[in-house]
């Protein structure tokens, strides 16, 4: 089977309480790959990321990471294994300043590099530096989104699970965020990106995985699929002119 530093998901069934959302997901992500997860609203993309991060109920299946099954572990333990997560929607500490939020992001890390990293993200997103004393909850939607991406960067993960980072960002900011993702990827980070901005996602990712109704229905290189085909997949689960979904 796959090498040691692969993330490999086998027959994963998970959901909320008794409700199963993922109906047998299989996915192998080699170390250092940049994967875009796409699919219609409600397909289970966020659920998949949350499941990887230990925030749902797992009924069946395994998640192997560096030779260890992390299915069923607590989020904290998973973070300790080098996987970090930027959830969809607001996830910051609204009545802490930007500075404190960034401090909290590195809660589990206690070394000298933390401060240097913080200076780095301030350089990356000057708007955050400008607002460093502002309460996170008082910032604009996009500014908060940037803050959350910055918080994940500060955790120096090996695997980054990031859920719709482009939401609410201006085109210019989207550019900066995706460039940063590419840089992290170039440094060897494995990235699982969930995006509705499919155009952008397919530009940056090495591999596209499409989810529908809790199952992987397409898996391949971004260049192998056109935009129209993608739309068709989202709606019907079928490619134009095909009867059976790939994979």
């Amino acid at each position: 089977m796959a090498g040691n530093s692969n993330l490999s998901i086998r027959d994963l069934r998970a959901g909320y309480g008794n409700l199963d959302i993922l109906n047998g997901v299989d996915l192998d992500v080699p170390a250092g790959q940049f994967v875009a997860l796409m699919g219609p609203n409600g397909a289970g993309k966020s659920t998949l990321l949350k499941t990887l991060y230990g925030m749902t109920t797992i009924k069946q299946g395994s998640i192997d990471w560096r030779g260890k099954n992390i299915a069923g572990c607590k989020s904290r333990a998973i973070l300790g294994e080098g996987i970090s997560f930027v959830p969809q929607g607001r996830c910051n500490f609204p009545v802490m300043s930007v500075d404190e939020n960034l401090q909290m992001a590195a809660y589990t890390l206690r070394d000298a590099k933390v401060k240097a990293d913080r200076d780095y993200v301030y350089d990356l997103f000057p708007i955050l530096k400008k607002r460093r004393a502002t309460l996170a909850g008082n910032m604009s939607g996009g500014e908060q989104q940037l803050l959350e991406v910055a918080m994940a960067v500060l955790q120096r993960p090996k695997v980054l699970l990031v859920d719709e980072p482009s939401v609410g960002l201006s085109p210019a900011a989207i550019g900066i965020v995706f460039d940063e993702l590419l840089r992290l990827h170039a440094d060897g980070m494995t990235i699982l990106l969930v995006e509705q901005n499919t155009k952008k996602a397919m530009e940056v990712a090495e591999r596209a995985v499409i989810l529908r109704l809790g199952k992987v229905i397409w898996d391949g290189l971004p260049k192998d699929i056109t935009h129209d085909e993608l739309g068709e997949l989202f709606l019907t689960g079928k490619m134009r002119g095909e009867t059976e979904a790939v994979h």
């Binding site: 409600g42 397909a43 993309k45 966020s46 607001r90 500014e143 201006s170 085109p171």
Partner: protein
């Protein structure tokens, strides 16, 4: 005749938070039957502008005139009910433990029941009104592709699905003007097409005007007749979508390169 007057006219609106000038002396107008776009970099004051125009926040200065009536200082609900101007929020908010249908029915109640007292009625009339709303809600649910999850509590839906509920809620009553704050954020491209169609339909057939904040430039250029650009709280430019995306200042401040 008031029809030659703009539907919404906002003059010299300003709002500061401490040292941050979130909105700085912005004046805009929306014409009857128009779909206008409001764009600008993150933190340029778009949402704050909405907040100040719709009564959620109190502007430091400026006036808001809707259909010839000065509504500055009105409360959020009064602007919605009496002014018939609705707004959506950038943050995804729904009535979490109510199902999709109920979410929409609540949104629809506002014009159907003219007074508070009338909402306490349980008679035939009241029931018929609610049935009517329910029917309308079902149509919108189909449009948004939420039919399969219509009896789920809204809080259990995915982020994009909740965003769609918000959008559909705006169309439940028939207002004069809808201010949308990033309605397409997190919506999959296929549904975006439908949302766009719905906006155009509401605009053409029902005569609803729109002011839309959106970062999806394709959408903005395809639906908006006019685009207003904010930067650092102030109005940068205003014009036709085609011109705007060519504007050097807009490219620098917003589109990036």
């Amino acid at each position: 005749m008031t029809s030659h007057l703009p539907l919404l006219e906002i003059k010299n609106l300003s709002k500061s938070y401490g040292a941050v000038k979130a909105v700085d002396d912005v004046s805009i107008h929306i014409d009857r039957g128009e779909i206008a776009g409001l764009i600008g970099p993150n933190g340029s004051g778009k949402s704050t502008f909405f907040d100040c125009s719709t009564g959620l926040a109190k502007p430091d200065a400026g006036t808001v005139v809707l259909d010839g009536q000065d509504i500055t200082g009105w409360s959020l609900n009064r602007i919605a009910r009496e002014g018939r101007m609705l707004r959506s929020f950038q943050k995804t908010v729904t009535f979490k433990s109510l199902d999709v249908e109920e979410n929409l029915v609540i949104a629809g109640q506002m014009f159907t029941f003219p007074s508070i007292a009338s909402t306490f009625g349980l008679g035939k009339m009241s029931r018929q009104r609610i049935d009517g709303l329910r029917e309308r809600a079902r149509d919108l649910i189909k449009m948004a592709g939420l039919w399969d999850v219509r009896h789920q509590p809204a809080g259990n839906l995915s982020g994009g699905q909740q965003k769609l509920i918000q959008f559909a809620s705006m169309l439940m009553p028939e207002p004069k003007l809808i201010l949308l704050d990033e309605p397409m954020a997190g919506i999959n491209p296929k549904i975006i097409e439908r949302v766009v169609d719905t906006i155009l339909y509401a605009n053409k057939s029902l005569g609803v005007s729109f002011l839309v904040i959106e970062h999806n430039i394709d959408v903005v250029t395809s639906i908006c007749q006019r685009v207003i650009v904010l930067d650092q709280g102030a109005k940068l430019v205003e014009g036709l979508p085609g011109d705007i995306i060519q504007d050097q200042r807009v490219r620098e401040a917003y589109l990036g390169g």
